[in-house]
Homo-oligomer: 338 residues x 2
DNA sequence: TTGTATGCGTTATCAG
DNA sequence: CTGATAACGCATACAA
């Protein structure tokens, strides 16, 4: 059994150099001769030395830790986002801390406060609703913050948003081309800014064509809620012939229920569009026409912003388009409309 | 703009006590009077003080950091596992670091080494194949390790396994009761121990009844591979009437292809059983009969083991059963068999 | 380029 | 119960 941890001191002694030499050998761009550097590395290798990032973070301004703040991360879209972020962060030499904001009992704030305790360089808020005060606190403590799809009107963080209005307009156009007239919008009761933007955008675009939209809102943004929506929408006298669902999970639930509980044919009787382009949307049982989350762009933009010096930051926010990926739940020509 | 970080020294000065008093006030179970404790807390509150975990970790033996090592974490089962772990870890006052082992170019080892650099107390290996040597290295550095569904024959870590053989036997029984005789097994080419255990267990159980099993292995353990399996299994002269898929993703792909490409009715013509009980398995398009991963038990057992003192550890491994959840892809009476 | 000395923010030890 | 002091492992200003 080897001694639990070997310090820079041990390496220095073994290599016959000073402690600082070891430190310099492990600091990129430090002034050290190739000879000593090699000897240090050799000793480090044989002794099994690893730089203690805790101690290094104590001295340096940055700890190399980035926090991923997320709720419901087993949801397909969120899971992909977390995977993409952790992957790229890791590639950039950063380490990612996971803050789970599922609980509503204040454990969230406590966890976010933890990120402060560990002196995280940055926090990326993918979702969840941490207290605004805590966000402010992190900011004041010198943490960089990236806000994704949140409309907190707060200064300092980098805001990344989707052009939900634009997407909604594209959806309306697609429906109109398919010859649909009775439009419906399926939302959840969550009321997240981006979800509401999709609803409002859809309503506005439809109104510009003199069309009315039936709106339903049920529970959480999940599969089961999509089923509920189908029940409330398809039992009514005048059924819609086009439904825009606020996300894919709800769209899939809606489709299943529409087909199996009401015998509705898709897209012959009813056109459906979703949002997110989760993997299941492409499964052959669904072939859902939906808007794709520009995950790569979101991640790239975030990392780029984080890599810039804090004072150099000119850009404060960025908006991306979610392109429509045509599959088989909307009638008509499958040409790119977005 | 507040001063970036406030130290225990600042609090001590503000409260009119010594640094040690502050330290004790924040250490549960330390000997400190209620009076000073309150004064310290007050000063800390107004000044916005937070214990620096980096410095604390430097002194204490434990950093409070636990690493979650996982690959393909946007897969439904993995995502749920990660969510459950991060949630419970957080509840226990630990902080979780995410190590993404998706890349195959050595970035994995580098990342795992990072966990050493941050002096993580423990690593939980959910998947992926980090080099055995690295695992050993973590172990030697005093890290606690939990291995989930891996059969590394290495001493020190806590091994958690599923009773795959038992599950496979239950599957065979279920198929036999449904009157199936032509059994097939759908596997991927990944060859993970637990996947192979399911295959071997299935083959053995079938053999005990004098039954032969057709085995196919295609690509990765994903939806698309399930479709491929359907194509190679259902185009042959003698089609199987029962298929055990190594996981739900493949089962769902298999079902979709069987129904849509071959007009097979499920369960009338063909019975299907999957593994994992991912959310999609319960969607009404599938209603898949499958084995449920005992995620809660896995997480609980892991945390319990981690909370025990390193020297107290009597138990080295634990095996859980995956109960069969009956839905609609297997004919016959839906009584509990497992 | 190299070594020395100091400080980062804590906790542990030991007097008082 | 409290305060001073010594670690923890590292990075850096400074002098050599």
């Amino acid at each position: 059994m080897s001694k639990s941890f070997v310090s820079a001191n041990d390496v220095a002694r073994h290599a016959g150099v000073s402690r600082s030499a070891v430190s310099r050998a492990f600091t990129p761009g430090a002034s050290v001769s190739e000879d000593t550097r090699k000897r240090v590395m050799n000793s480090a290798q044989t002794l099994g030395y690893h730089v203690n990032q805790l101690a290094r973070g104590l001295m340096r301004s940055e700890s190399g830790i980035v926090c991923l703040v997320v709720s419901e991360m087993d949801t397909p879209y969120r899971a992909r986002l977390v995977r993409a972020f952790s992957h790229e962060l890791q590639k950039a030499g950063k380490i990612s801390m996971l803050i789970n904001t599922d609980r509503s009992d204040g454990g969230v704030d406590a966890a976010l406060r933890q990120t402060l305790n560990y002196r995280a360089d940055a926090s990326i808020l993918l979702s969840g609703l941490p207290d605004k005060a805590i966000t402010k606190l992190c900011l004041d403590s010198g943490q960089r913050i990236v806000l994704i799809n949140r409309d907190d009107n707060i200064n300092g963080p980098f805001h990344i948003n989707l052009n939900d209005h634009q997407a909604a307009k594209v959806a309306v156009n697609a429906f109109l081309r398919a010859g649909c007239r009775a439009l419906a919008f399926v939302n959840s009761e969550v009321g997240t800014p981006s979800l509401m933007a999709r609803e409002n955008g859809f309503l506005a675009a439809a109104a510009s064509f003199g069309l009315n939209v039936t709106v339903t809102s049920h529970g959480n943004t999940v599969y089961e809620s999509g089923r509920h929506a189908a029940h409330s929408l398809l039992t009514s006298f005048d059924r819609p012939d086009a439904v825009f669902c606020v996300n894919d999970l709800m769209a899939l639930g809606f489709i299943d229920s529409a087909r199996q509980d009401f015998g509705v044919r898709i897209p012959e009787d009813l056109c459906v569009i979703g949002f997110d382009d989760i993997e299941q949307a492409s499964w052959s049982s669904y072939e859902l026409t939906t808007f794709a989350q520009p995950i790569d762009q979101i991640v790239q933009a975030s990392l780029l912003w984080l890599s810039e010096a804090a004072d150099t930051q000119n850009v404060k926010s960025q908006t991306f388009n979610a392109p429509l990926v045509w599959r088989k739940t909307v009638r008509g020509n499958h040409q790119q409309v977005s």
